[in-house]
Structures are given as structure tokens and as C-alpha cells.
């Protein structure tokens, strides 16, 4: 009866040793093609300095996109990240500048507030059975409102030097502390998703919550934790943005949720859950970052830029289909 096994060798497919980045190959090709084009078309694009600039520019979205990757992997969505970012920034600014707490404490409190927002979203989803879209939409509105209430809509300007330097000084002429933070986080979560059982569990939940539950995964608890992490990272993004802008304002992060989700989805994740990964998300974030940067360097008018961005995003993602179509 076991004679079958020799037969199975025929079915062998070499690709996909371990399904992970799933679907990010197309976008990756798109990214490379775009970079080559921009290097040839401008004399400023291909330089260490410009690369570091872009890294700085994508840090905020990049950090949020890590959390969003987890959320999307389990089949969720988090629309509140932009607002939570603002809330965190305002909490930090208020406690640190207006109240005058030690700045480290202010940062911690900001992160805590952000993580709390995520936790509340997670609880709404798991305990009240709300669709993630609605739960986080509600949180988006609530967090933005609170962010504005804190200072009655005023911005807060001027943080301690050591703090704003985190986003400015490039240690060893290379990485600012904020960019380094993003890279370390991306790496840590990449390892987590790829090599830790708890990370693999997210894929299972996204694939089918019921299958995951029957396999002994505590789906609800994990879900709450994932939204908490997404909130926490959005809060961290708020701290990073404040350092970078040396100011905090209630309107910051407006519309970032769409950018962040776009980065993750461009990177090959499926909004249905179960497919995606940090590597893909990194590609997505870089596509958006390099594209905007490149178009500015090309002196493309802002209106035309929008058209080009739309077309390039479509092409980058379609590349995957066009490629896989040939396979079938």
C-alpha cells in the first residue's frame, strides 16, 4: 500500500520551500525595476545619502506596517493606526512638555496609551464580535478625538535635544536611532513570524480561525495581543514622528492607515488573511518610499505624480499575476 510514496516524487514542485512571503515576488521585481529606472533617469537617486534619506522617510510607515502585517495576517485590519499615532504623540508631548514629567516617562506613557487603544480594539473584535473594520474605525475616530482634546487642538513644539537627535544624528554616518529601531523591529518580527511557533500560529489563524482553534491555538487571546502590538507600534511610530518633526500635533498621521495597509498589501499579503510576511511588507514600504522620492527627484508635477503612483502600484502587483499566469 505504501508503494504510493515513490509516486509522490513526481508531484514534486521545487518552489516554495516554506510558504512565507507568498506573492511578494512580483512586487520585488517591480521594486528592483523601479530602482534601476530611477538610477538611470536621475543623478541624485543612486547615492548612499538618498538611500538613507528614504530610509528616514519610511520609518514611520515602516514601523506601523510591521504591526499591520500581523493584523492582516490574522485576517484583520487596523484603521486606527494613524489616529493612535497622533494620540501617542500628543500624550508624550503633553506629559513631557506641558506637564513636565521626565521625558522617558512621557514616552512610556504614550506607548502605554497606544497599546491600550489596540487592546480595546482587540477586545471589541473578540468579545463583542465586531468586524475589525468597524471596531478599528470606531477607535480611529475616538483616538483622534482624544488626541485633539488633550491640548484643545494645539500643537506642541520643541522637545529635548537628545530626543529629536534620535531621528537626526546618523551614528557612524549611517543609521539614525529611529531607522535602526525600525530595522531591528523588522528583523525581530521577521524572525518571530518565520521561526517561532507563536508566529506560525498567526498564519494558521488567518488561514482559518476554526482550524486554528481546533489545533489548540487560543485564537481570541492571540487576536487581542496582535491588535495590542499594532497599537503599540503605531504609538512608537508617533514617538518617532515627533522626534523627526520635533513637534507633535493632533492632526498627524491623517490617512496613514491607507498608506500602511497599502504597503502591506502591495507586499503580497492577502486581506483575507494567512498570506504575507515582513519581507513582503518591507518591499511594499520601499516601493512606496522610493516611488515618492523618485518622482520628486524627477521633478514630476504633483498631480502627474498621483497618476504615476497609481499606475506603478498596479504594475508592481500585476507583475506577480503576469508572471504566474505564464505558469498555468
Amino acid at each position: 500500500m505504501m508503494a504510493v510514496t515513490s509516486e509522490t516524487a513526481r508531484v514534486e514542485t521545487k518552489r516554495r520551500r516554506f510558504s512565507l512571503g507568498g506573492g511578494a515576488t512580483g512586487p520585488f521585481i517591480g521594486l528592483i525595476a523601479m530602482c534601476i529606472f530611477l538610477s538611470l533617469a536621475t543623478d541624485t537617486f543612486f547615492s548612499v545619502r538618498n538611500f538613507l534619506n528614504v530610509m528616514d522617510q519610511v520609518t514611520v510607515i515602516g514601523v506601523m506596517a510591521i504591526g499591520m502585517t500581523l493584523v492582516i495576517l490574522i485576517g484583520g485590519i487596523d484603521l486606527s493606526v494613524g489616529s493612535v499615532l497622533a494620540l501617542s504623540a500628543m500624550v508624550m508631548g503633553f506629559l513631557g512638555n506641558t506637564i513636565g514629567l521626565p521625558f522617558g516617562v512621557a514616552i512610556l506613557a504614550a506607548l502605554l496609551a497606544a497599546a491600550l487603544c489596540g487592546t480595546v480594539s482587540g477586545l471589541m473584535i473578540t468579545q463583542l464580535n465586531m468586524p475589525p473594520f468597524i471596531a478599528t474605525l470606531a477607535m480611529m475616530s475616538i483616538a483622534r478625538g482624544i488626541a485633539s482634546i488633550i491640548t484643545d487642538g494645539e500643537q506642541i513644539v520643541g522637545f529635548p535635544d537628545w530626543f529629536s537627535n534620535l531621528a537626526i544624528i546618523r551614528y557612524g554616518g549611517f543609521l539614525s536611532a529611529t531607522v535602526a529601531t525600525m530595522i531591528v523591529l523588522a528583523f525581530a518580527f521577521w524572525v518571530f513570524l518565520r521561526f517561532r511557533p507563536a508566529g506560525r500560529a498567526l498564519y494558521a489563524i488567518g488561514g482559518s480561525p476554526e482550524v486554528a482553534r481546533l489545533a489548540g491555538i487560543r485564537v481570541k487571546a492571540v487576536t487581542v495581543r496582535v491588535y495590542m502590538v499594532s497599537g503599540l507600534l503605531a504609538g512608537l511610530a508617533g514617538v518617532i514622528l515627533s522626534a523627526r518633526l520635533d513637534s507633535a500635533q493632533p492632526s498627524s498621521g491623517l490617512g496613514y492607515e491607507l498608506d500602511t495597509i497599502a504597503a502591506v498589501v502591495i507586499g503580497g499579503a492577502s486581506l483575507a488573511g494567512g498570506v504575507g510576511g515582513i519581507a513582503g511588507t518591507a518591499v511594499g514600504v520601499l516601493i512606496i518610499g522610493f516611488l515618492r522620492n523618485g518622482l520628486n527627484l524627477l521633478h514630476v508635477s504633483p498631480f502627474v505624480q498621483q497618476v504615476v503612483i497609481g499606475v506603478v502600484i498596479a504594475l508592481a502587483v500585476a507583475a506577480d499575476t503576469l508572471r504566474s499566469r505564464r505558469r498555468h
Binding site: 504510493v4 520551500r17 516554506f18 511557533p197 506560525r200 498564519y203 482550524v211 487560543r218
Partner: protein
Amino acid sequence: MTVSSPSPDRDVVLQLRGIGKTYEPVTVLRNLDLDVRRGEVLALLGENGAGKSTASSIIAGLVRPTVGTMTWQGAPYAPASPADALSAGIGLIHQEMRLLPDLSIAENVFVGRLPVAGGRVDRAQMERRAAQQLHRLGLDVSPSMLVRELRVAAQQQVEIAKALTLKARLLIFDEPTAALGGDETDRLFEQIASLKAEGVSFIYISHRLDEIALIADRVAVLRDGELVATHETAQVPVKRLVEDMVGRPLDRMFPAIQSIEGGATRIEVEGLTGVDGAFSDVSFAVRAGEVFGIAGIVGAGRTELVRAIAGADPVVSGTVKVDGVPVHPGDPRAALDQGIVLVPEDRKAQGVLLDHTIADNIALGNYPRVAPSGWVRPAAVERFAEAAIKRFGIKGRGGQLARQLSGGNQQKVVIAKSISRQPRVVILDEPTRGIDVGARAAIYDVIAELAREGLAVIVVSSDLDEVLGLSHRIMVLNRGRNRGILGHEAAGRIEVMELATT
């Protein structure tokens, strides 16, 4: 054995010539010649992964062949979509296709061809006709009920009703009875017989070989994508069919039942009562080394009972103890931690992650063994999966997506995943649904082996022979109540059915 050559037979309605299908780099169907005649039931047999569903999908326009041609009622036939096939009069019940859970039964039956009166969907007519057809199949439920509220067997009946109301000239049934009990199967056969008399042709796929003689007129057997035998009559000994499918004789189906001296009580169920009265006050105990069968007709509450034991559903009252330790109810994780694993009945919804690799599926829930250090190394996952693949004869590679497997092989993946946990109690709900004879024998061997290793094994099956052939004792469930537990010696078809239906 006659490999069919183009025949002038006027009765031939569908002709396949040289049909082949390749999913790079694998060829799953090659050079298939097949004739279907008017008013006949052609049984299409073969091991899991032999290519039966692929061939059906090609005929029904769901998949396009890589090479080959077809004719339908004498004219060239190359459907580009199921819509083309349907309008030509060819319908398919797909082995894996599910219904639309959020729509009513009636709408599911008539999806894509809702009856219209005065420009509006004629709901009254639709529900009436759906109810009629379902009644003929033995399912009397309100046609306005949502499909999501139905159990697997009832869903399968809706699926069948959908096909039977098609007014098709050729119907392809891909394992229609895999989820059905004996009664439902009988009724389906009545329906097939009467349509046959009207000249409708059938391609009938099943792994229940004893059905073949009852329903089929001719038999075609596939092996590894090739037609290896056709029989002009269905009155072929099952032994012969098995040989055609597997390529060698299969000596026996069930392993000998071992005696279980001195096995301590492994699992004890006491007064278990489920939500909504699906089952109530069920008590039994299973000893280490024992195979315990649960029999009953469809809807008896067997699935709900075992799901509750495994913590998948909440219970109203009662206790479950493993080795004397009570299990916290309603929490699959708690049950798993105490060594209870469930191979669920509904593999697509509860068993397998379709868009994940086979390796990932098998590793799921087995990380403590795959990655004892807490670090999941891809190579370790692959090795772990490879071992399971070998043990269960799964036709596929670790890196392949589960979606790409044939139905039977998906089922094997689910079993492999659960058994790999090294449990103390294994519950298998319809374990051999959609599994070919050869593999079925292997799974029976596995079950016997698990018992020998000192596990308690609980088997739920609508295949009475399976329960009878495997179990030391059999509990008969009827309307959610334990109607008695029969010993292996005392249990026969008649005894069990009597308890199950009265």
C-alpha cells in the same frame, strides 16, 4: 479490458479523446479516452489523486485540458466555462465545492437559474420545488433555512438536489455519498435510477466500491492519470476493482481485532449533555487499547457529541475525564493538553488550511515536537512532514499547497496532523470520507496500531461496515441518546440499525 477506440456506437453522448492535463511540472491526466452512453451510469474509479476529479472538471468546463478533444452529442465540445457546460446540458456536483452558507437552501438549489415570474424571482415556486426535491432525497427541512445552519450530510443533500433539478442530460457526481448515511444513499440511487430511465447519463465517482454494483452500468478505472481498465458491466467483484485501482491485490480490509486485557480506563464520559439538545445524558468509557465505535443515522448527534468531548463546542452538563482527570469543557486547547485529539468531519472548514503548504498543515499544533527548542526550522518542519507523508501515503510534497491535493489526500493530511500529536485519546469523525480503498486499509491499520500503543480510539462513521470491522465495542446513538453499547461479537448490521432507528 478494452481500451476504447472511437466507436460508431450511436448511444455515445460524450466522447473524450486523448485528454491530458498538466500542472507544470506534473501531468495529472494523460491520453484519456472515455465514452459515456445515453442513459447509463458510468462509474469512474481510482485511488486518491488518480485524476477523477480533474477529468470531471474538464468535462464540466471548470478546468481546461492541456491536450485532447471532446464531443458532446456528436458535436465538438470545448467548454470555456461551467456556464457553457450547463447550457450544453452537463452538470457537476463537485467533490470539494461548498454551498453558499448565507443563502437559503432553496436559493442554493437554484443558484444561477432562479425561477422567474413577472421579472421577479419566483420565491414560492423555488421553495416548493426545492422542498419537493429534498423530500425525495429524505431531507425535510424548511427550504428558507440558511445553509450555514445545516450539517455536512444535509448540505450534501442540498448539493445533490441542486444537480437533480438541473434538467441536465449528463450529470457528474463526484463522491456524492461520501457524507451520506445508508438511507440517504438509497434515496439518491432511486433518483438516479428514475432519471436514467429518462435517458439522463451519469458519471459516478465513489470510493465506496460496494455501491458500484448497485448503481453503475459500466466501470472505468484510472490509475496515476491513465485509464487502466474498463468493464462493460458493473458486476465486477470488488476485489478485482481494488486490484485495478491499486495495481496489486489487497489481501484484507480490516486488521484483526486485538484483545485488550487489563487496559485501564483512558477516557470517561459521564452524563454529557449538549447545547440545544443535540445529545443528552451520554455516558461511556473507553479503555486504553480499545477502539470504540459510535454508530447512528445521520443527524443522530454523533458529530456534536464528539466535538463536545474534544472541547470544540460548549456543553450544558456532564464531565469528561482523561485518566481520571477532568477536562475543562468548551476549550479545545484544554482537551488537547490532556491528550484528546479530534479529526473533524468537515475537513474544509475545520481540518485543513487550504492555502498553506502540506508541511505547514502537518506541523500546525505539533510545534512542541517539530521545534522542541522553540525555534521552528524549515528543514525540521519538512522532515517532520515528510515522515507523516510517508506514513500515510499522501500523494504530494511538503512544499505543495493543500489546495492542490486531491480530496482524499487532504483528508490524509488532516489525519496525519492529528495523529502526529502523540495523543492519549483519538477521536475520528468519518475518518475515511473520500479515501480510496487502499488508503482506507492503511488508515485502519493505523487505527489498530494506535490502539495497540495504548491509546483510546473513538471512531464515528456512517459506514456501518467500518464501525463494525474496527471496533471492540459500539455505542449506538439515536436522537442524541445512548441506545446501548454492543460488544464486537454481539454487534451486527441488524442489531445496530435497530437501535439506531427505533
